[in-house]
Symmetry: C2
Subunit: 219 residues, 2 copies
DNA sequence: CTTGAATTTGACCGACCGGTCAACTATAAT
DNA sequence: ATTATAGTTGACCGGTCGGTCAAATTCAAG
């Protein structure tokens, strides 16, 4: 029944990369096909439209992201250290992306979500769900943390919400200013936010101090 | 010497509105001209390119934003209340924009900065400066606050950086999820972040309690 | 009134966009 | 070998994009 191939997956991978690098509008269907080594006709055999591909590519990217998250947020790791690990991984990823693509790319989901809100509500809704799932990892870690760490209190869901916003806010700044170093403030900022519940800056600060981060002001 | 008119300013105003609503790519030159009531030839008489207009429109929007900031951050207002006022003003503005345009638009500078980083580095650089200036208002307020409020300590510049990231992170979420109510968490989140310096949640919490905000979880 | 520069007009351009399509090819089942 | 189906090809479509331009119009100065 026809040629068996990985055409569809190559399109998804190419789309995930190109959408992240160039955004929805700038990544043309022709460029997508070229990158995937596929003719335009094949493209429309597997996907109804460019919008359809973008949606599927987002799911594709989220599946990959989940693998990384599963590693950073492994239950065996102490809860606050999970967050520190993830922040470090994201910082390193942005450095690598900058080396490869010549500039800081930030979060692919927020990138497309910001661009597509309005023109493509279906994509925005899809991204909203991904973001909620992403934030769920923060909630899980903080839920464990409030039980394990004596100096940390408050509603884990709310704390996760705020920490996630702080995290994404710095990531967006890193993209716009093309400066990944902004992200190095993340652990210190998180310590301040999380440690603000009661007395001293809690376990997070100790965690931060033991890591490779420099707490100095960057910007 | 030719007709005197407000053509240029009408183009700037139309661009500021359309770019905020639709973003750089979706706001076509033709649509810009239609909205401004100007022919395309006139457009290119006053601006070298669409990119040129976008840059000027950003400056135009920033001038207007500064007027609002001057009101919220008036020196006569107690420093932490300046922030609370601004957060409230932004929340109300997003509600109004949603009523007018049918969806939550978020911050125009982050919107264009996210979209244009890469394709239009000059615009991104311009936005970077605007963002730094915007954050300067936070720095001023927090600089005053650490002197005035006994329960608030830490480097005002760093605190402003983090608070601004948290603020923009929530704004982006509000845009993507089309839900301005997210912003109502801002005062409580800010209180947690700022109050985390030493003991209790400091003056910010009291400020928050006295306002029209509801601290309940929204999402 | 004449001149000359600033402004305005709208038709026009080539390029590219997302998307279509009829023909063609490779595979698997019969 | 035949057939049915899945996959592939690349020319092609109408529309829109950002941008150009020669001509027309309006004003202020002389």
């Amino acid at each position: 029944m026809g040629r068996c191939g990985d055409t569809r997956e190559r399109l998804l991978a190419a789309a995930a990369a190109l959408l992240r690098e160039n955004g929805y509008h700038t990544a043309s269907v022709e460029a997508l096909c070229r990158k995937a080594g596929v003719q335009k006709g094949s493209f429309y055999h597997f996907f109804e439209s460019k919008c359809d591909l973008a949606g599927s590519a987002l799911d594709y990217a989220w599946q990959q992201q989940k693998a990384l998250l599963a590693r950073d947020f492994a239950p065996a790791v102490p809860p606050v250290e999970r967050l520190v690990r993830h922040f470090d991984a994201v910082y390193r990823e942005q450095l690598a992306l900058r080396a490869r693509y010549g500039r800081t790319l930030g979060c692919p989901f927020y990138r497309l979500g910001t661009e597509c809100s309005g023109a493509h509500p279906e994509i925005a809704a899809r991204i909203g769900k991904i973001i909620a799932a992403y934030r769920g990892y923060f909630e899980g870690a903080l839920g464990d943390a409030v039980h394990a760490e004596p100096g940390l209190n408050g509603d884990p869901v709310r704390l996760a919400h705020w920490l996630f916003a702080l995290y994404q806010g710095l990531l967006e700044e890193a993209r716009i200013c093309d400066d990944p170093e902004v992200l190095r403030q993340l652990p210190a900022a998180a310590a301040r936010l999380l440690g603000g519940g009661r007395s001293e800056s809690a376990a997070f600060a100790a965690e931060v101090a033991g890591d490779g981060y420099v707490a100095g002001v960057v910007n």
